[in-house]
Symmetry: C2
Subunit: 274 residues, 2 copies
């Protein structure tokens, strides 16, 4: 593992690292914020999965998580959203290929050799983060848009691995959205039966989540038709799933929305991880 | 004036606007954060001047000011750092021309027709901001690096216009630094007598500031040799200038440094403007 940068931030360290990923078959870059408390004792980890087009960097620089993580004593991991590099398949569209891994393990070419983001997040990078000095045993997970989809689906499929769950404007029902059908078809194939385990609404209907969930959604989000929060809200209500679903007046899909509520989400996770 | 974008942020509005600038002879873009309190009553304004290579956008997205401005009820203005556009002179170097206006009025060609950032900040944009709905009568000023230089020099030369003053890692003694001599020579000419009114250390020695000043400087800043904080610190001490000068262990020159201390600076200005 190679250190790309380390910057002091709110008394802790914002680091960026690269490593040769066996799972993705390419070099992968990720960021970790280590709060000042990690010098004294192991701290819990909050995983933040980013949305379409993002790298590890967007939320790291614009999400405003460090201040709150330092206050509560949480580490925050910012993975990339896909494999990258010259030998990695790509597509001209912003929502397929590099920057758009959708947190699945691709079964179809040309994506299969590299696009194994589900295993990367839950196994390879998980192992790397667990091995870092100062990292404790409890993990929470959140994310924005495609990353909110990733957080919800990964947590509901692996409840033993995560102790807290939230999401910002998640792609909530990808099997019924153009943000989903296109990618699930490309990566997994046309058998829609395989798609259900990557759809938060369907997973929640089927399995629910072991604890409560925090979800924030901007009421003026320009992508509401693609995100389909109403499907997830309905599933939550039908299942009587403990959850706080907040429709936030006036907010859109940008990082101005994410960083406005970053403090609430970090506090939510801290209350469950500490 | 044209609205480029408006995003809800911490209950207020982060706006980006362009206008045809008479002073700079080109279109200029700036950002204003209006806190929620501005809907109820006029709020004071904090001017944030950015550093080399920046536009209005860097601090707006990475500085973390909105959260604190919303808490205290301050507006924040993020001007661009130079005129821009096809007809505007430029230089291959990152530290001259576009992105490097240095907050002076250029007297020499090719810079003179457009590079009038001192007048732009203190007159034209000041007038525009004063005319915006929700803006009150009190103004504070801060900035980072070249923008810290801008904030300190502009405030000390116009004490009647500003009621509070701070800076992040300012270029503190440009007449004796490669971040200064090059630009002051290019923009103002070789008569170094004209440069003194754009040097914080010399202005502080000569005029001081009417109130106290907050300055944060990273002790691990990679540009310490160019910033020369020791010259400004010495001038403060010699003049018995009320000031808080903080050398912050481990911090570098990045926005991770700026946003770590953004809350302290906003609180400092709020205490003097409200």
């Amino acid at each position: 593992m190679e250190t790309v940068a380390e910057n002091r931030s709110f008394g802790g360290t914002q680091g960026v690292y690269t490593h040769a990923s066996e799972t993705c078959g390419c070099d992968m870059t990720f960021a970790v914020y280590m709060p000042p408390q990690a010098k004294e004792r192991p701290v819990p980890v909050l995983w933040y999965l980013s949305g379409l087009t993002c790298t590890h960097e967007n939320a790291m620089t614009k999400g405003g998580f460090q201040e709150h993580a330092a206050k509560h004593g949480l580490a925050v991991v910012f993975p990339d959203t896909s494999p990258r590099g010259e030998g990695v398949a790509n597509d001209e569209a912003y929502d397929l290929g590099q920057g758009a891994g959708f947190y699945v393990n691709a079964k179809r070419d040309p994506w299969k050799p590299h696009f194994q983001m589900y295993d990367y997040i839950t196994k390879e990078l998980r192992g790397i983060v667990e091995g870092m000095d100062g990292i404790g045993t409890k993990h929470g997970i959140t994310g924005h848009s495609m990353g909110g989809h990733g957080a919800l689906t990964i947590a509901m499929r692996n409840p033993e691995m995560y102790d807290s769950l939230s999401a910002f404007a998640p792609i909530a029902h990808p099997t019924q959205s153009d943000w989903g059908r296109k990618q699930l078809s490309a990566y997994l194939g046309d058998d829609e039966g395989c798609w259900a385990s990557h759809d938060s609404t369907l997973l929640l209907q089927e399995h629910g989540w072991k604890d409560d969930i925090l979800i924030d959604q901007g009421a003026s989000d320009q992508f509401l038709d693609l995100l389909k929060p109403e499907a997830l809200a309905e599933a939550i209500a039908k299942r009587r799933q403990p959850a706080t679903f907040r429709m936030q007046e006036g907010y859109d899909h940008s990082y101005f929305f994410v960083n406005t509520f970053a403090g609430d989400h970090v506090a939510w996770h801290a209350a469950r991880l500490l």
